[in-house]
Symmetry: C2
Subunit: 448 residues, 2 copies
């Protein structure tokens, strides 16, 4: 089978850096981030355009300095459940933290979404970026990287174990034999690990795709290790073409080294296309968007996010950037350490850091439709991405992309012209995981 480009739509309205000023756009309702109809419409538009999946990011910490659409937003699984019954083909990927949820609850909720959607659920496993999150869950300190990623790996293993509680044909529902459940096909997991102790079984049958798809987002060494072990899809941060190629090659190599098929780790690079009639128009638009939201105090407030919601307001803006490496370590280390390193190497003040980290940098997918199509093709064919996780500002921007870019991708044979299945696994070309107990049973039968 020819390799196919995968396109996910990352919900707009649920926030992301740089979206703060969006509420001023008259086309965006002020309550967009809590209006379920806003999300349903996005997902339906993406489904009409044959996208693979609809993607919801998440966080469980805010303060008043956070971007507008972080401040009040729907919880991903309740959101996606509501979207599920208004769509039929598009995958539904929700972000949930393995640090602040119990594996049994995670297993249940994603399996439940998987049933409600007829096999379209995906779990984007994150360890929680925002340091302050810990204090919403009884911990004074955010867990460190080793512990968070250790928990993440074990959580995924437990959740998958629970998803195997029932073998595929566990419910004969045979009235004559008075047999609803075949009790030999229900299994307790009895997991005892470093971080979790979970007996099972889960009180949910397998879904049409066997198990929800495991996604992962997080680029540290620990994050890559997790991805290589268990991710079937990755939300990758983007950056330059060369950076994405490096990341892509690294992940595929790691997965192969662990004996996995690298094609079964689908890498979606985050992308914020800006499409206009001409390249010049698109770049002008991109710059305008940047300037409209270019507020120093807000940016200063938000810089604290990389350092555990650190409050910079007491600092001298023109003194050298303080050494906050120890704070970065607890939260989003990768980003925080990068900032500290750059500030030190280039001798930047706090003011300069704010300007530098929020410097204008147009998306590589900015331009006239053909330019954007060329860029996507380049990323797809030169080992930078298996697809994109697309972020738009408004519904108009999504519709423009669907009208002007998607048809060209199809014409070039890069993107599907119809759905060929009904599950997220079908969309992503991923196999249905074999139930572990069914496999044991078969192995035993083969040996007998």
């Amino acid at each position: 089978m020819a390799r196919t480009l995968h396109l996910a739509l990352s919900a707009y309205g649920v926030g992301g850096p740089g979206q703060h000023g969006l509420w001023k756009d008259p086309r965006v309702p002020n309550n967009a981030s809590v209006d379920i109809n806003y999300y349903i419409r996005q997902a339906q538009t993406a489904e009409q355009a044959l996208f693979d999946a609809y993607f919801i990011v998440d966080s469980q910490f805010i303060n008043a300095g956070y971007p507008a659409h972080y401040l009040s937003r729907l919880e991903p699984l309740t959101l996606l459940s509501a979207v599920a019954t208004h769509t039929r083909h598009i995958g539904l990927i929700g972000t949930a933290s393995s640090t602040y949820n119990s594996p049994f609850n995670l297993a249940r909720r994603f399996a439940s979404l998987d049933h409600i959607s007829g096999g379209r659920a995906g779990w984007n496993v994150v360890t929680s970026f925002d340091t302050g999150t810990s204090r919403n869950y009884g911990l004074d300190e955010h867990l460190d990287y080793g512990t968070r990623y250790g928990r993440a790996l074990e959580a995924v293993e437990v959740v998958r174990g629970l998803w195997d509680s029932y073998e595929p044909d566990a419910f004969p529902a045979d009235v004559e034999r008075n047999l609803f459940l075949d009790p030999t096909k229900l299994h307790a997991l009895d997991h005892v690990g470093e971080h979790f102790k979970v007996a099972g079984p889960l009180n949910l049958d397998r879904s049409p795709q066997g198990q929800p798809v495991i996604f992962q987002a997080g680029v540290s060494e620990e994050g890559r290790t997790l991805a290589a072990h268990v991710a079937e899809g990755i939300y990758a941060p983007g950056g330059s073409l060369a950076e994405s190629q490096d990341y892509y090659a690294d992940i595929k190599r790691r997965a192969a080294a662990l004996g996995r098929d690298p094609d079964h780790v689908v890498i979606l690079v985050g992308a914020s296309p800006v499409v206009a009639a001409t390249d010049a128009d698109a770049h002008r638009l991109s710059r305008d968007i940047f300037e409209a939201d270019n507020d120093f105090d807000r940016k200063l407030g938000f810089l604290g996010r990389s350092f555990g919601a650190y409050d910079f307001s007491g600092h001298d803006l023109d003194a050298p950037f303080p050494d906050l490496a120890h704070l970065a370590e607890k939260g989003g280390r990768t980003r925080g350490l990068e900032i500290v390193r750059q500030a030190r190497d280039e001798g930047l003040t706090l003011r300069q850091v704010v300007e530098t980290v929020t410097e204008y940098a147009p998306s590589p997918f900015t331009g006239a439709p053909d330019t954007v199509v060329d860029a996507i093709e380049q990323w797809f064919t030169t080992g930078a991405a298996d697809g994109l996780n697309l972020r738009f500002r408004t519904h108009d921007d999504l519709e423009r992309f669907v009208a002007d870019v998607v048809p060209s991708l199809q014409k070039r044979g890069l993107f599907r012209t119809e759905y060929t299945g009904d599950t997220l696994r079908d969309n992503l070309g991923l196999p249905i995981p074999v139930n572990r107990y069914a496999r044991e049973r078969e192995t035993a039968a083969a040996q007998a």
Copy 2:
């Protein structure tokens, strides 16, 4: 305002004692408990009949001996989110355990459902009946009553505190002043208690009904204390008219003693009506239903549920019932201790206990339509119930009740003839809780 009868529909398909054999009914699809369309249809039928709410019970523990519709079922909040966008008026009450969920996650998910439904969410707070649940959450032993109910009360307080994070007018969204959020109207809770430490704020705005409605189910001394303190609605177990009157009077008295308005604790008694053309037909039908599912081994298996999924299969059926009081203490004490006491007082063997606890006892709401209407009126007017939480076996039974019983209730002026609002609080006649910070602000202003 005249007192109005409240009717909730307890979802059928999610299980309950005595429903084991339901899968044999050709009208019930075998996957009913995981088919979201099955639930949507129930809720829509109940909404057409102007019911107050749709109610989902829950558990997080199974073994192969559990009734068929416990074995594989949707998680309540994902289920209700999907139902929310297919209904407009009916309340959506989901059961969730305060023992095995963190308050921050509970606050978020119910507030999210509350937004998705436009102000129709309710949380039925339970402490988890099934002893075995603990082993799905890392604990060898189920927490004891004191701890479980202590956590429950504190969890509700924390969750309500988080639901007040934003004052009602926190988002001016004023483009001219460049002010989306008024930061003085966002509040961290900074809760430090015996069981929980939760900083907040919650990343969700208030909903149209201010806060989801708190329900409670559990009849022990500890359960009643919790109800009197925080419940705005109660799912009461039923029993005889006299028992229900005692319970009703006790709860209203306790609430009043705590300075609460007893009308703001709406008591819904669980009821399983069996309606037929004549009283005799209804009693025959009721008996048939009982006999169709009257399997000794299954009942023996399920008896263990009251004693922490205890396995009776090794016991001599004709020996005296073993003293399992210590096991009851950990799980559903009220029920378990009742069984132990009765067995001791009456000198029952294990076999006799199984027969006694599962003895045929027709619902007080069995009969021809007028008989059932009379019974409902009696319960409602003699201080036994503010309404009923109705359990049916099949969609046909719900439809029969809607067609034959509801109109008579309306004719007698007991039940509404149209919805007078859009939220669950509207349906139940409950006030919108005043935001605690807005109240402080007003008090301070009045004193100044």
